[in-house]
Amino acid sequence: MEVTADLLVNALISGILLAGFYAAVSVGIGIAFGMLDVVNIAHPAFIVLGAYVAYIAHEMLGADPIVTAFVLSPAFFVLGLVIYRIYYYAFERHGQESLRSLAFFFGILFITEVVLILSFGVDYRLVNTSYSSTTWRVGFVDFPLRLVVPFAVSLAMTLGLHFYFTRTFFGRSVLAVAQDPLALQLMGVNPRRVKELAFALSIATAGVAGAFLIVIQPVQPALGRVFIGLVFAITVLGGLGSITGTMVGAAILGIAESFTATFFGPSWSPAVSFGLLLAALAFKPTGLLGR
């Protein structure tokens, strides 16, 4: 394949736009797994749930999926609170239980899938927004709004989260909670409360990512499974414990996927993505920006 400036620049832009979506999908795992050590493997199922919620609102009220997602994010936040409560009483209280909690979240994943199948059927759903089929063209570079809008909103969301976690008292106590819950308690902060709110926040991001998902591609109830590997790859690749790590991981996988698809053959892109992850794990297990 001949490498031209046209292809190169477009591959890069496509990769970056894709990375924006990937960041939104993974940022919840970046919080739950990266900061709280909660292996929430059901996160992608909540993303798909978010996609269906956005779909329903669009079908019934003609509402824009992304607007819906933000309006309904308190509901996802509450869902997160509930799930964390169950998780806390079943596992966290007893300490070292990562394997059982893994199975717990698998169970939650299946239950969510079934609920979606029973209520919406198994067909692929898709939403067409006013911007779905518009593409801006700057020179020879394409900016399809279908990806640009989620990218921009995702960037705003992840940056917002980044500043929230680095600049506010609550955010910093989240970063502290995994490392030294005792010290936090001495400061008068209840670590459980902190984890609960942070986890709820991570589920709220799933709702928003779900809206992006249904704008970008058709969705069916079991689609979440496809994203399990991807979200953990992104979180681990960039490094745990920071939102910037997730963003870096998303950028690497997004751009790698786009370049593989453009210049080598899209069929190999999973091998490239997960090969990168394996290499990163083998040589720097803490991730590129790891703590």
Partner: protein, 424 residues
């Protein structure tokens, strides 16, 4: 599910049989004349192809009700025994052995698609059962089983028959297309279609300039389309499954793909879901279809069938158009039913022989079978989408939106090219 199929009780009963190891010798219970005639099959009711599977099941149930209204088969009421194969081949041996050994069905049918048909064939062969199957691509090439039949209308050389029309259209353009880009998803069916396409391209003396596959869950297909555009092909051929069909179509519009002819056997474009969701993005594409409401397509009774199917599909949240799979799911039942009635018994060997020897008039037109169980003469349609406005469903029920451009005998309009000038 139990609402539709009273299987729960029967299933629990059989589970008890399994658990207690109570085991009846096959053939002990011979069918009484008044017993219902049981037809058994697995079908995708969950999993990635469940949308198709459930629509097919509905069509088959319509046939069952039609037949029973006329007094059943061989004077016996027809009953279905169905299981969910989860679109997963590893469930198939269990399902068919259960159907044959425990449920003692009289006739078996296949589930939807090559993946679940392939593991059913060895079981059918072992039990010497006729297997009428639904949309497999050249599965019998390896097994060479004479009790195997297949209803997708691609002809005796299925993977070539599936795609040949597309390249005949390309060859008929002036000037004749020279360069071809092939792309498809990493799954059974698209790979089969690509294999046929390579042969067809060679037959038409064109040149392949791009030939790659992609993972079915690709999120953004724009890099693929750009890589294809960089080779500047006259023709872009795509073989895909529903989610990636949408991915490719959108990417082609976003990138502004410039080529003379774009399309192919893209599964999903035949359904209402993608037709309405993609809407005007489909304009100008040359796509494979199995039925479209054009004046040149005059299958007997298809209108009556759709009149029954569409309202029920709407209430069960299934494909509301029913142009793709349902008529063929119905037709395969018509063929099996007619054969049983004419043979006058359930002798599998005689039924197979009858189906091989005769021509059947079905809702999808006249069908006769080649030696390998495929349609003797294929009849896929290639259409060009035109004048689609917005995301309205009703427009697809009107003629002139999906104009048949191949085969010549069914043509309802001329192929317009290049693609990029007919996109709007």
């Amino acid at each position: 599910m139990t609402r539709k199929h009273p299987r729960l009780a029967a299933g629990l009963h059989s589970a008890v049989q399994l658990a207690t190891g109570l085991l009846l010798a096959a053939g002990l219970a011979s069918a009484h004349a008044a017993d219902p005639l049981k037809i058994g099959f697995g079908m995708s009711m969950t999993g990635p192809l469940a949308g198709n599977g459930k629509a097919a099941l509905l069509a088959m149930e319509i046939w069952r009700d039609d037949v029973n209204a006329k007094g059943g088969l061989l004077g016996r009421k027809v009953e279905f025994v169905t299981y969910d194969d989860q679109t997963n081949p590893s469930t198939v041996p269990g399902i068919y052995n259960k159907l044959l050994d425990i449920d003692k069905v009289d006739i078996i049918m296949s589930g939807y698609g090559t993946n679940v048909i392939a593991p059913a064939i060895p079981i059918a062969m072992q039990r010497k059962m006729v297997l009428m199957s639904l949309f497999g691509t050249d599965v019998n090439a390896k097994f060479k089983y004479d009790g195997y039949f297949q209803i997708m209308p691609n002809g005796a050389d299925p993977s070539l028959g599936l795609v040949n029309g597309f390249f005949e259209i390309a060859a008929a353009m002036k000037p004749k297309a020279q360069t071809v880009a092939l792309v498809g998803a990493d799954a059974e069916y698209p790979h089969a279609a690509l294999e046929g396409a390579r042969r067809s391209v060679k037959n038409h003396k064109m040149k392949i300039v791009y030939d790659k596959t992609y993972p079915p869950n690709t999120t953004d297909c724009a890099p693929i389309i750009r890589a294809i555009q960089a080779t500047n092909p006259d023709v872009v051929f795509v073989a895909s499954y529903p989610p990636d069909s949408a991915c490719i179509v959108r990417a082609a519009n976003e990138v502004g793909l410039k080529t003379k002819q774009f399309g192919g056997p893209m599964i999903g474009l035949g359904y209402a879901a993608l037709k309405t969701q993609l809407g005007p993005l489909l304009n100008g594409m040359t796509s494979w279809e199995l039925y479209v409401p054009e004046p040149t397509i005059k299958f007997p009774f298809i209108k009556e069938f759709l009149a029954k199917y569409q309202p029920r599909a709407a209430t069960e949240k299934l494909d509301p158009l029913g142009f793709y799979l349902p008529p063929y799911a119905y037709a395969q039942m018509q063929i099996v039913g007619e054969a049983i009635q004419k043979v006058g018994s359930l002798d599998q060997g005689k039924i197979a022989k009858y189906i091989h020897a005769n021509k059947f008039s079905t809702v999808v037109g006249d069908v006769s079978f080649a030696k390998n169980g495929e349609w003797a003469v294929g009849r896929p349609l290639y259409v060009q989408y035109r004048g689609i406005v917005g995301n309205d469903l009703e427009q697809w029920k009107q003629p002139g939106k999906a104009v048949v451009v191949w085969p010549a005998s069914l043509k309802s309009g001329e192929h317009r090219y290049p693609y990029d000038q007919n996109r709007k």
